[in-house]
């Protein structure tokens, strides 16, 4: 029998499971990327890309499109620092927004380079990830056309872009970023407790001299950590940080659908978790991995002295230290000195 709280129980065990699943590939990438490392992320410490101490972190959740967040951001002429995750880069550039900093970390060998436009892609990929995923619907509508547009945009804006890139990133992503003229600043993902003598994080740091950043399970949280712990920005608004799916989203269009389907068979729907969104008065749903991301973010938010508000206007990320605030209200507030 599959218990009803299966999703939450799986989520509670994902810290260890993530290490087991990704560490081998991430460490192999780190070894392969080592000769390419020129600059540390610490060179960005305290740097003011934009005006003042405010920043917006742009993730790639469905609210980014639902709420037309980027169009509204552009219209407001936000002058603070803009940090985007790799998956949101295309949406930003198409909206006429060039982020100051792009964050990338996922070690996947083929998928992540697509967020930067893959010049080698000429026919639809066998992997249906980009046609199915909810993060950038442009790829679902026209996979080849969207990629071609993104290649052109990234080639045009590459020299303006700074990338906070994890040593775990795929060498294909590194090559693409370098070819587009981006400036790369490197960091190690924190894999485990660096105080342990046999720590993987410690060994990696000894080998390449780079700091280890606690990534919180996903690139969106890692981008938020970079923003307050490296750039030292104190007022942060989150966009597209849904960690969930809007009501009515087909389960086939969710990130972990193939895995849940394979594992649970006809009962795969029991792996999802429903949560209320008080900002919209809606019930959203999420899967175990996204639920874990939410829990981790709220735990990490307890330990920062930066003010973080969630301007996503959707999703499930809200708590005492991460209130949901309308984007327009945040923009009006940070526009004041």
């Amino acid at each position: 029998m599959v218990p009803m709280d299966l999703g939450r129980r799986i989520a509670s065990q994902l810290s260890e499971a993530t290490f087991e699943r990704i560490a081998p590939l991430a460490l192999a990438n780190a070894e392969q990327n080592r000769p390419r490392i020129r600059r540390s992320i610490l060179e960005l410490a305290g740097r003011r890309f934009g005006e003042g101490d405010a920043a917006i972190v742009v993730a790639a959740g469905p609210s980014l499109h639902r709420r037309r967040s980027l169009e509204r951001l552009r219209a407001a002429a936000f002058r603070g620092t803009l940090v985007a995750v790799d998956g949101a880069l295309g949406a930003c550039l198409r909206a006429g927004i060039v982020p100051h900093l792009v964050v990338t970390a996922d070690p996947h060998a083929e998928r992540i380079v697509r967020w930067f436009g893959d010049p080698a892609l000429t026919t639809p990929s066998v992997d249906d990830y980009f046609r199915r995923q909810e993060m950038d619907p442009a790829h679902a509508r026209d996979e080849i056309g969207a990629n071609r547009t993104l290649v052109e945009l990234v080639d045009r804006h590459g020299p303006q872009l700074t990338v906070a890139i994890a040593t775990s990133a795929s060498p294909a992503v590194v090559a693409r970023c370098e070819a587009a003229g981006m400036t790369l600043h490197w960091w190690n993902p924190m894999f485990d407790d660096h105080d342990r003598p046999d720590s993987v994080s410690r060994r990696l740091h000894r080998d390449n001299g780079l700091p280890c950043l606690n990534g919180g399970g996903n690139v969106g949280t890692a981008a938020w950590v970079v923003t307050h712990a490296v750039l030292e920005l104190r007022r942060i608004g989150l966009l597209g940080m849904d960690f969930s799916y809007p009501p009515g989203t087909p389960l086939t269009g969710t990130q972990y659908y193939p895995e849940l389907r394979e594992l649970l068979g006809d009962r795969f729907a029991e792996g999802y978790i429903s949560l209320s969104n008080p900002f919209l008065g809606e019930t959203w749903f999420t899967d175990p991995a996204y639920y874990w991301f939410r829990d981790v973010f709220l735990e990490m938010a307890q330990d920062t002295d930066s003010e973080t508000v969630n301007c996503t206007e959707g999703g499930i990320l809200h708590g005492e230290r991460v209130p949901m605030v309308a984007l327009d209200d945040f923009l009006a507030k940070v526009a004041r000195p």
């Binding site: 029998m1 993530t18 000894r206 001299g209 895995e259 594992l263």
Partner: protein
Amino acid sequence: MTKYLRGNYTVNVTIEEPAPGAADSTEAFERKALSRLGGSICFVSKKGFLWKGDGADGSGTTDRQPA
């Protein structure tokens, strides 16, 4: 029913014990699920946001040249 739950009273319902192996199969399923799900980057609880090294070898400073 485990002997620790036996009392000196009579209940009006029939308590069905789980089939042998049910717990094992649930655990096995969860182990399999955990091997397929998870994040793209690790999270380490209670270890701060940024570890720059212990500093004794200069690795904790911003001016150290990475390899």
